[in-house]
């Protein structure tokens, strides 16, 4: 159906196990995570190493080769540190994804040239030195600037994966507005910058929400973004229902979410529990119902 490119998010230094494994060179922990994601159907594996202040080159090289030993997938090198980024890109056997560059001055100077040098795909976010553009207009304005700059460096639109930056929907007062802005942005991106691809940090939509409720937000929002032609998502491939949804294996849920977005009348009283929850969640994410942690209960 949509077959969104899924970039597996689970090798992430915020996870204590991952950060310890890198420090102690415990290949098994990393390889298990990589294998599990590959088997679950991930298209890329993201290696999120954060700022990587200590021994950036040695660490990222070890991580890349450790993962490549067990997974035959392209990698997404996810760091703010340009030294680690270059070492990571260099070590990749398949064409990697540089994750990420932005409109910030230092990113333009240090990250974008690396994408050119290694001829790889590159995530470019809407972030600038002024911060996070909150609405559709400012997101569009900033991304046009940065993509134009990248084009001038010789990076074609086809290699650029635009990231509108997803923020938690639960942020008091503003989260829902941001969620709606990203949906709108995705809808018009193709017209604004023909040929570019797109990506999002999907799980951030549910940050701060009680753990057991997070997957439902992630899954619903993915379907909503896909309706607006999302190309790829950094997400959890170990969430089976999420993968089934994006592979088109649960068309009735996808259709229901689409109907909700399109404002069609849906008789909630006849819906089974799971379907009802998807409709309620879509209404929260499209800003129709005010968010609360108890959104499924009312």
């Amino acid at each position: 159906m949509f077959d969104t490119v899924i970039i597996g998010e689970n090798v992430h230094v915020i996870a204590q196990a991952v950060s310890t494994a890198i420090r102690e060179r415990d290949a098994k922990v990393i390889q298990d995570l990589a294998k599990a994601q590959a088997e679950a159907g991930a298209d890329y594996i993201d290696l999120n190493v954060g700022p990587m202040k200590k021994d950036p080159e040695e660490n990222i090289q070890w991580l890349v080769s450790t993962v490549q030993e067990v997974a035959d997938l392209p990698l997404s090198i996810d760091t703010m540190n340009p030294v680690a980024m270059e070492a990571g890109l260099k070590a990749c056997q398949k064409r990697p994804l540089l994750n990420s560059a932005s409109g910030k001055a230092d990113s333009k100077e240090q990250m974008l040239p690396l994408a050119r040098k290694y001829n790889c795909d590159v995530v470019i976010s809407v972030m600038t030195d002024k911060g996070m553009p909150p609405d559709v207009e400012s997101k569009v304005e900033s991304i046009i600037d940065t993509v134009t700059y990248a084009n001038e460096l010789g990076i074609p639109n086809e290699d650029i994966w635009v990231d509108p930056i997803i923020l938690p929907v639960s942020t008091a007062g503003e989260g829902q507005r941001f969620a709606v802005a990203c949906l709108e942005f995705m809808k018009i991106l193709e017209d604004v910058l023909p040929g570019v691809k797109s990506t999002v940090g999907l799980s951030n939509i549910s940050n701060g929400v009680p753990g057991e409720l997070r997957p439902l937000l992630n899954r619903t929002y993915l379907v909503m973004l896909e309706k607006n032609k999302l190309y790829s998502a950094i997400a959890d491939p170990l969430d089976k229902e999420l993968m089934s949804l994006t592979r088109g294996e649960i068309p009735e849920i996808v259709e229901l979410i689409h109907k909700t977005i399109d404002g069609e009348d849906i008789d909630l009283s006849v819906l089974p529990q799971r379907e009802l929850e998807y409709v309620k969640t879509a209404k929260v994410l499209m800003g129709e119902t005010l968010y609360s942690d108890a959104w499924l209960e009312s």
């Binding site: 008091a172 005010l290 609360s292 108890a294």
Partner: protein, 305 residues
């Protein structure tokens, strides 16, 4: 061509909550129009109400100009409450501040007896708040509810931490609940959703938490405004409740209000005026002259339509 101003009509209606019984009752809420949008279609059947605050102990940090109107009655909550009635308040707001473990930690039974005496002594409706300490309130408020059984008072604050216990007592003894959350619309809605699982929505008043001029009032204003808009415009079932603005205590804490009378009245009056513009349905004040100040400013008529 003649200009015709657009007229909006809304779908949401704020639930009308009655506080008290019979002649000792008042109504708040019931509007299907945004505050001050008298040019739109709809009406507000219940103009904003003003309650004066009474404490269950002698005030500790009140400036002379706030003590003045009550100076003979401050040691006696019953006489104090009667004085508020004489001074023209629509309701008395009794705060059981002495029950706070950090103040006197006075007993729940004592507080309940006091609440009952005050309720019996006045001919206007009574609102009762605990100290705000959620654990102690979970002991105090059920006793208060029981002592005032069947009087249909407004009792609070019901909070996330104690809504089950306090809410059940209010339900059993026939009272309204004032549901308090800390300046956050998502938390406010969540509390209402949870409370409504066993408590009737038409007996809930929202306390979104108030703040005063110079001390974050913008947050309280935006929040109340949003609660009203989401209720009236998008018809969210869980925000279509009247709003209480418990602002007097916040105002009189400030050094500006304490400095002199004129400044104090303005501090309280301007905060009140602002929050009722944002959508508050009942306002809690400390100084009787502030009521007149606010009433004169809005002249009443705007709220009668």
């Amino acid at each position: 061509m003649e200009y015709k101003a657009p007229v909006e009509a809304y779908t949401g209606v704020v639930r009308e909550v009655t506080i008290g019984k019979g002649r000792k009752s008042l109504k708040i809420g019931g509007e299907n129009i945004l505050p001050l949008h008298f040019f739109d279609q709809g009406s507000n059947p219940n103009p904003v109400k003003y309650a004066l605050e009474v404490l269950d102990m002698e005030p500790q940090d009140w400036p002379e100009h706030l003590i003045q109107p009550f100076k003979d009655v401050l040691g006696d909550s019953v006489r104090w409450a009667k004085k508020c009635q004489e001074l023209g308040a629509d309701a008395v707001f009794l705060r059981l501040v002495s029950t706070d473990p950090a103040v006197k930690d006075s007993s729940a039974d004592g507080a309940a007896a006091m609440a009952k005496r005050v309720a019996g002594a006045i001919n206007i409706p009574l609102i009762i708040y605990g100290s705000g300490d959620d654990k102690k309130d979970a002991e105090v408020l059920p006793k208060v509810a029981e002592a005032c059984d069947g009087m249909n008072l407004l009792i609070g604050p019901v909070q996330k931490e104690n809504y089950e216990k306090v809410g059940k007592a209010l339900l059993d003894h026939g009272h309204n609940a004032s549901a308090l959350s800390p300046l956050d619309i998502n938390l406010l809605k969540e509390l209402n959703v949870k409370l409504c699982k066993f408590f009737p929505a038409e007996k809930i008043v929202i306390d979104p938490e108030s703040a005063t001029v110079g001390y974050g009032m913008e947050y309280a204003f935006s929040l109340m405004e949003r609660v009203k808009q989401i209720g009236i415009i998008t018809k969210d079932n869980m925000t279509m409740m009247p709003i209480i603005a418990d602002l007097g205590g916040e105002c009189w804490k400030t050094k500006q209000a304490k400095e002199n009378k004129e400044q104090g009245l303005l501090w309280e009056g301007i905060t009140a005026l602002s929050l009722l513009l944002a959508g508050a349905n009942i306002i809690i004040l400390r100084h009787p002259e502030s009521i007149n100040l606010v009433k004169e400013t809005i002249e009443g008529e705007l709220w009668q339509k």
